[in-house]
Structure formats: C-alpha cells, structure tokens
C-alpha cells in the first residue's frame, strides 16, 4: 500500500498539472486573460516613470472641451462654421502635421452654404496649400452601405484618411489594417511617417501593405507631465512625479493597498502629452500667441474632444479614463521614442492565440511545482534531524529557492522589456510562487515548539 502511494501521488500531480496547463492555455472564463491584463497594467504603471520623453517634445494634443463650447456660446457637435474658425486658428500656428479625431459622418447643414461642410473643407484646403499634412478620422467602411458611417466626401477630398476603428486585437494599437476600403494606416503611423520625413527613422515600413505585416503596438504610457504644460494650464492639482525609485514604491504600495486608500483629495496623475485646449488657440495678446506658436510649431498635433457624454474615452493604466485622442498620441509617442522596436506581443503559434510567452509562464509555474516537490522530499528526509538542520532544510532552503525564482522572474522581465516584448504574467507567477513561502513557514511553529519543549 505504502509503495503504491508515490505512484498515486505522482499520477495525481501529473493530472493536476495537465488540468493547470489546459486552464492556462484554453483560458476558460477569461480568468487567465484577466490576470495577464492586471499584471500588464501594473507593470505599465511601474515602467511609466522611466519612460523616455523623446516623443513628448514632438507631440501636442488640442482638446475641444465643454468650457470652449460655453465660452463661444455654441454646442456639440460643433457647427462647421465654428470648426472652420478653430482649424483656421490652428493653421496660423504652423503645426508640422495634424490629425483630427472627429468623424464627420453627417452634413447637418448641407443645404445651407453659410453653415455647410464646405466651410470646413475650405480651411482644410488651406492646410494642403501650406504643405501641412492633415489626416481625418476614418472608419474604413463604405459610407452608407448597411447604415455604416464614414467621413463625408467633401472632406475626404481635402485630407488624408487615418483609420480609427479596428477589432480583434484587444488593447493593442495596429499600425495598419486591411479594411473594406483597402489597407489603411492608423493616425500614429501616418503621423510617424511625417515625423520621419524630417528626422530619418530606421525600419519604417515602406508602404501600407508592408505595415500590415507589422505587429500591433503594446502601448507603454508615460507619467511625467511636460514642463511647458504649466505655461498654458494650471497644473497645481497634478501629482508631482519623483524619481523612478520613488514612483516604483508609490505604484507598488498603491497597487497592494488600493482598497485601504480612500483619500479623494489625492492629487491626480496629469496627462503625459502636452495638452492645449481649443480656447488657448483663441488668445489675442501677441506674447500669448507667440507662446502658443512656440508650443505648436512643427509638432505633430492631434485634435480631439473632451465633451461630457460625447463618449470617446480610452483607458490608460496610468491615468484612468482619458479622451480617446490620447491613445493615438501615446502610440505615436511610442513610435517616436522606440522607433520600430516598439513593445509588442510575440507572434502566436499558427491560428491560435497562444505564443511562446504563454509557454514561458507555464515553465515558471512548472518550476514552482518542481521546487515544491523537491523541497517536500528534502523535508521528508530531514524530519528526524535536529532543529537547526530542520530550519535550514525546511525553511531557509525554501525561502532561498523562492528568492532565486523571483530573481529569475525579474531578470526574465528585464530581458523581455529590453527586447521590447510584453512581459510574462508577473503577478500570476508571483502569487503562485507564494506557495513556496507558505510551505517554508508552515513547519516553523512545530520546530520552535519542539525545540522549546526539549529545552524545558
């Protein structure tokens, strides 16, 4: 009976291992994906403080907000005559290139020449004449077909389309997508091409078809507010960012004790990209105009909206929900900062959603299981030894294995980060590895009590 036990135990462990592998790879109920996402978001926050600011000097966002509508006694969607004024003002500050994150799918005033889309088209035409590339949001769908929406022809004629709608890649940001209108580039790549035309970039896809083959970007968000932001906005409510080490501990403690932290007065994390409001473009004082000119001239400018109930919001692991235009801005920032070596997921095996990183995760969990079994054997042999030997073999050796495992995990994450691959599920592995710590601490009270009894 006792001889059969190890076999039974081994078979049981193999079955359990097989079930675990299936759970990890097939991801029923999305538990594994949720854990992957939580781990990735946490690491994104951890790495945000040391994200380089190369792209930050090249990009600006102009936000059309409720305050602008109220100040100008207008409404949303903004009438074309109002929009023509906004883009006319922006043109005067000579941006390097402009992406407009508004979808002009309906002409509300087609019969009224004083209000119709032609007013805006006239201004967009001026961008073309000045040699300032202008990209307009496009869904990549045939307008009017099966009730689908897309930019009206009057505006596509005087701009270049940039794809803003895609599916099937989760939180990732594609460089180009094959749509029903043909292969189209997203705003980040379209603007990156403009940036590269004056800066020179390595590995830039030669055309849209080549860009289709490139993996989507796993966006790394930045943390530090640009210093010039304080020139145009009141930044006193923004959280001050400390050194990378300070931010690391701040993020770590926030991630661990977020349920205990109900301090509503805490300063907020302000946006990483230089942000101007549409109202800033209206300034009339010459010094103010010169300041806005310095901030916008030659930059890649993305125009978006932050209107209550308008609905275009995206989730940033660092900032929470932000207007959707910041997703394009951050993807562009990643391209400018890291070039075509941007962070990405490893390629999947065939048509599955499984890649070698998943196998790496399984390998790490396998290592934990192996170490657990190894230490169980050692502990079994050491149970009749002296208390000091038992502490060494049952407690310290397990803790040492755990430390080695964590060091390996940290090293692996650094290597993957340096290779621009998304990290493995660090949190998942870390939590499972706590089994070793639990096993290490379990015999400690018994050993101490026995030692105490012997001592008496």
């Amino acid at each position: 009976m006792s001889r059969r036990l190890p076999c039974f135990s081994l078979c049981g462990q193999l079955v359990m291992g097989l079930i675990f592998v299936l759970l990890a790879l097939l991801d029923p109920f999305g538990l594994s994906s949720s854990s992957d996402q939580a781990s990735e978001q946490w690491l994104n926050r951890m790495f945000a403080s040391r994200y380089e600011n190369k792209g930050q000097h090249e990009i600006a966002v102009v936000l059309l907000d409720d305050a602008y509508l109220q100040r100008n006694h207008t409404y949303w969607p903004l009438p074309y005559d109002e929009q023509s004024k906004l883009f006319k003002r922006l043109l005067a500050f000579k941006p390097g290139a402009v992406f407009v994150d508004f979808l002009y799918s309906h002409d509300h005033s087609a019969d009224d020449p004083l209000k119709g889309s032609q007013l805006l088209a006239n201004v967009f035409d001026r961008y073309q004449r000045r040699g300032i590339p202008l990209f307009l949001a496009n869904t990549g769908q045939v307008r009017g077909h099966d009730g689908r929406a897309n930019t009206i022809p009057a505006l596509t004629d005087v701009s270049t389309p940039a794809l803003v709608a895609w599916s099937g890649i989760g939180e990732r940001y594609p460089l180009a997508v094959d749509t029903s209108l043909g292969a189209m580039e997203t705003p980040a790549l379209a603007l990156y091409r403009q940036y590269c035309s004056s800066h020179g970039c390595v590995g830039l896809p030669s055309d849209t078809t080549t860009a289709l083959a490139k993996p989507p970007v796993a966006i790394q968000w930045g943390l530090k507010v640009p210093p010039e932001q304080a020139d145009v906005a009141n930044a006193k409510d923004c959280a001050l960012s400390g050194s990378a080490f300070d931010e690391f501990w701040k993020q770590l403690s926030r991630a661990m004790f977020w349920r205990l932290d109900s301090n509503d007065d805490e300063r907020q994390v302000c946006r990483y990209t230089l942000t101007l409001t549409a109202s800033d473009l209206e300034v009339t004082d010459e010094k103010d105009r010169a300041l806005i000119g310095r901030l916008l001239a030659g930059r890649m400018v993305l125009v978006g909206a932050n209107i209550t109930s308008a609905g275009d919001l995206t989730e940033s692991p660092v900032h929470g929900q932000v207007p959707g235009v910041f997703l394009h801005a951050m993807a562009l920032d990643n391209l400018i900062t890291m070039g075509m070596d941007y962070d990405r997921d490893p390629a999947s095996f065939g048509k599955t959603d499984i890649n070698w990183q998943d196998l790496f995760g399984l390998l790490l969990v396998g290592m934990i299981a192996g170490l657990k079994a190894f230490h169980a054997q050692i502990a079994h042999k050491a149970r009749r030894k002296g208390w000091l030997t038992r502490i060494r073999l049952e407690v310290l050796s397990r803790l040492l294995s755990w430390i080695v495992l964590i060091a390996f995990l940290w090293l692996l994450s650094r290597v993957l980060n340096a290779s621009h691959y998304t990290p493995v599920n660090v949190l998942g592995v870390l939590l499972i590895s706590l089994v070793l710590v639990g096993e290490a601490l379990k015999p400690l009270p018994k050993i101490i009590i026995r030692r105490y009894q012997k001592g008496i």
Partner: protein
C-alpha cells in the same frame, strides 16, 4: 428724453467709428491667403508683395472670422490670424484652465448626449 436719445446716438456713433478705425497694420503670414467670402482660397501672395501701408477694415464677418479690405482697388477677404489688426477685433485672454488627468476615471456617466434645437440652427 432728448438727452437720453442724444447719448444713445452718441454711443452708437462712437461704436461705428471704433469699428471703422480698425486697421490692418501688418501681414504676419507668408504667404498671405486671399479668400472669398466663404473662406475659400482665391490666390496667395508672398508677404513681400503685400501692401505695406495701413489698410482700413471695411467689413468683419464674425461668424467666419474674416475681414474685408481694399487691396489695390479690389475688395478682398483675409484671415485675421494672418494679420496684425489695431485695435484688435476681439480680446481673448489665456484661460489657463485647470489641468485635468484621470478625473474621468473616478466618475461614471451613463448618458448619451441628446441633440436638441442646436442641430437645427
């Protein structure tokens, strides 16, 4: 009653005069776009070829932010952003709005904007 009417006429007349004395003092953009009354570019001229003398503003289209001036005997529309106008047509201070970041993440808004009478304007 007579005094009040006189004052009102004087105020209105002074505003008309003020509007009439707004002048284009300099051309800031290069090239300068010559526009039609809908803001469509008719032609562009190099700044060096633009008039150097002060040009009185004949009309101001506030809805499209365009000004009309007389250039070489021809009435044309210009973009005020390309010009230095004195006195300014309007004065807007830097708003210096409070910088926002993640505040949207804290609040939930379960509504969709309704399009009211504004869309029919």
């Amino acid at each position: 009653m007579f005094r009040l009417t006189a004052v009102l006429i004087a105020v209105l007349a002074s505003q008309t005069c003020a509007a009439a004395v707004a002048n284009v003092e300099a051309f800031l953009a290069d090239p300068v776009s010559i526009l039609d009354d809908q803001g469509k570019v008719e032609r562009e001229i190099a700044r060096k070829d633009a008039p150097t003398q002060v040009l009185p503003i004949l009309q101001y289209n506030e809805a499209l932010e365009l000004v009309q001036v007389d250039m070489a005997g021809r009435k044309v529309w210009l973009d005020p952003m390309d010009l230095r106008i004195n006195p300014p047509l309007k004065v807007v201070q830097m708003p210096c709005e409070r910088l926002s970041g993640s505040e949207k993440g804290l609040e939930k808004n379960h509504s969709t904007m309704g399009f009211g009478e504004g869309c029919n304007k």
